[in-house]
Symmetry: C2
Amino acid sequence: MKFTCDTKELSRACNTVSRAAATKASIPALEGIKIDIKGKEVRLCGYNLELGITTMLESKGDSEEDGSVVLDAKMLCNIVKKLPNALTTIQADKKSTVTIKSGDSEFQLVYIPADKFPELPKIDEKSAISIPQAVFKEMIQQTIFAVADDAAKPIYTGALFKVEDGGLTMVGVDGYRLAKCHESIDYHGQPFDCVVPKKALLEISSLLDESGDKAVDISIGLRHAAFMIGNYEIFTRLLEGEFLDYEGAIPKSHATEIKVDVRTLVESVNRVALVVSEHLRSPIKMHVGNGQIGLSCATSIGAASDTLDANISGDDLLIGFNHKYLSDALRNAGCDEVRLQLNGPLSPMVVLPNSGDSFVFLVLPVRLKAG
Amino acid sequence: MKFTCDTKELSRACNTVSRAAATKASIPALEGIKIDIKGKEVRLCGYNLELGITTMLESKGDSEEDGSVVLDAKMLCNIVKKLPNALTTIQADKKSTVTIKSGDSEFQLVYIPADKFPELPKIDEKSAISIPQAVFKEMIQQTIFAVADDAAKPIYTGALFKVEDGGLTMVGVDGYRLAKCHESIDYHGQPFDCVVPKKALLEISSLLDESGDKAVDISIGLRHAAFMIGNYEIFTRLLEGEFLDYEGAIPKSHATEIKVDVRTLVESVNRVALVVSEHLRSPIKMHVGNGQIGLSCATSIGAASDTLDANISGDDLLIGFNHKYLSDALRNAGCDEVRLQLNGPLSPMVVLPNSGDSFVFLVLPVRLKAG
C-alpha cells in the first residue's frame, strides 16, 4: 500500500473519521482508522460498531500501490497534524510497518492488518430522503437537547424520525420534557418511523453546513441509516423499541398564553437559578399576571427574584418548574420571541414559536409545596 | 453596610480577588470575599492564608453605610456576573442577610460576619523595588516553567528573587532543569534574597500589563511580600529554606555551540516526541554534526526521526534528553533564535539568547543506553 496526500486534507479527514473510532475497545482495530487505496482513491474509515464515518481523498503521488491497513486513530491524527511538508506519503511494507514521510520527518508505526477491521453494515435501503443541510441542522438543534443521555429505556437516547408524505417530523423525549419539530420534504413513499441515536446526530450536526443550500441525503434501512454529507458518509445503527405516543402528550388547548422575548426570559431564569445547586435543588416559581412574569426561587443558600414584562392573555397562574428544562428549551428555539401556553400549575408548559408550530417543546411542571 | 457600584467593575474586581479565596476550606470565611465600606471607598479582599488579593472601588450611590461583611466568593462572582442593571446596590442588615439589587433582580444571601475573616499580614518592609510590568512579566515567564509544582523540598515550589545593587535575578529549579534571568533595576540598598511561591507568581503575571510602561512596586518583608499592580495589591507568604547554589550548576565553558531557529527546533522536538507516551517514556536522541541536528526517538509504539539545519561550531555530539524539558525552555525563551551550548553527552545543555545572557536555561541530559 502506498499513497501521497495533501497533508492538511489528510489531517482534516483523519480528525473527522477518527470521531467514529472507539476510544477504548478490547479489539484494537476498533480504535483505528482503516485506509484503503485503490488507484488514486484513498478511502478512510472509522467504525466502532455503532457509528461509522468514511471519507474519500485523492492521492497526489505518481506511484500508488493498492492495499489496506488499519492505524491507531489517535496516533495517526497526532502525527499528521504535526507533519512539516505540504505532501505526505504513507507506505506499508509486507510485514507490519507503515512509514509516514513528510519533508525531513519520518515515522515508523506497526499497523493492524485490514482483515481485523469490522465489516461495514450493508444498508438494506427501505427509504431515501433528501433535506437541505441548514434545515436539518436546525431540526437537530431543536430536538437533541430533549433526547435522554442515558435512559432506563434505550429508545429514548435517540430522536424519532417520522417520515410521511411531504414531511419529516423529529421528536426527542427524556421523561421530563419533549421537543418536536417538523419540516416539509419532497417524499411521496410509504410513511415510516426510525429512531437515530443522539451520538450519531451530534456527529452529523457537526458536519452539516449552516450556510448554502447543499442537501444531506439520508438512506434508511431496517437496522441502519446512512447520511451523505458532501464527501463524508456517516452510518449508524438504529435504536429498536417502542417510542412514546408524543401526539397524545401535547395539550390541545390552553388557559393562559404568554408572548415573551426569549433572551430576556432565559437571562432571568438563569439569574434566579443561581441559588440552586446540585445539592440544593428547588423549582423556580413563575407568577404570571398583570402583564408581568415574576420569577423567584429560595434554597438554604439564599433567595432570588426577578420580574419581566410580557404580553399575557388568559388566566393568572403560579407554576413551578426545573430551570434547566425551560432554559434549554428557550435557548434551542432559534427565534427571538416565543409563545408559552399553560393550563394551570399541573399541566405541562408548551413552548411554541411566535407564529406557526414548526417546533413544539413541552416542559413538565414541578408540583409546588402548599404554603 | 451599604454601597452602590458599577456592576461590570464590581464583577471584574470580584473575579480577581476571588482567585485568592480558598476553593475548599474548613473555615468558610476563607472561601469568601471580604467587603469593607468606608465612606465612598469599597475594598474587596480574598485571602487563603498563603496568598491574598485586595482591590478598591468607588461607591457610586448617595447613601453609603460603613461596615464589613464576608460573602461566599463563588456565589458572589456568579451573581454579579449575571446582574441586569449597570448599577448594583449591596446592603447588609444587622442580623445576617445581605441584599444584592440590580434593576428588577434581587438576591438575599446569608453573610459571614467580618470578624471571622483572617487578619491580613503586616509587611515588615525590609526592601522595596520597582520594575516595569512588561519586564517583570517576561521575567516570570522565563523562570516559572522551571519551578517545581510540588517538590520534596518546598523551597523549589517558588522562584528565587536575588536583589543586588542595580539588578534583579530570578531563578527557578526543579531538579531536572534550571531557568535564570536577570534585569537591571534601580536599587542601591543591601543585597538580599527571597523565594516567592509559584502560585503567587502566576496570579501576579495574569495582572501584569504587557504593553505600556507602568511599573509594579514590590515591597518585601521577612515573611511576606506585596506586589502593587495598578488598583490591585497581591500579597504572599514567602518560602523558607535553603535554595540551590545555582551559579555553581551552570557550566562555564562549552565544547559545542549551536545557533538554531527556536520555532523549527520546537516543532521538530514535538514531532519526534509523538511516539513517546506517559507509559512509554524514552529520551529524544540529538545527533549534532555536519551542519545539522538529527532528532530521533523509538518506543514500542513506533519510531520517529527528523533533521534540521543549524549553525554548529565545535565538536560533534550525541546526547539524549527529555523532550518536555527542552521544548519548555525553548517556548519560554521569548526570542526567535537561541544558542545551545553543550559539553558532551553527560553535561547539561545550556540554552542562551542569540546574544547576551538575559536568560540561561539548563536541561539535564538523559544517559543513553549503550548500543
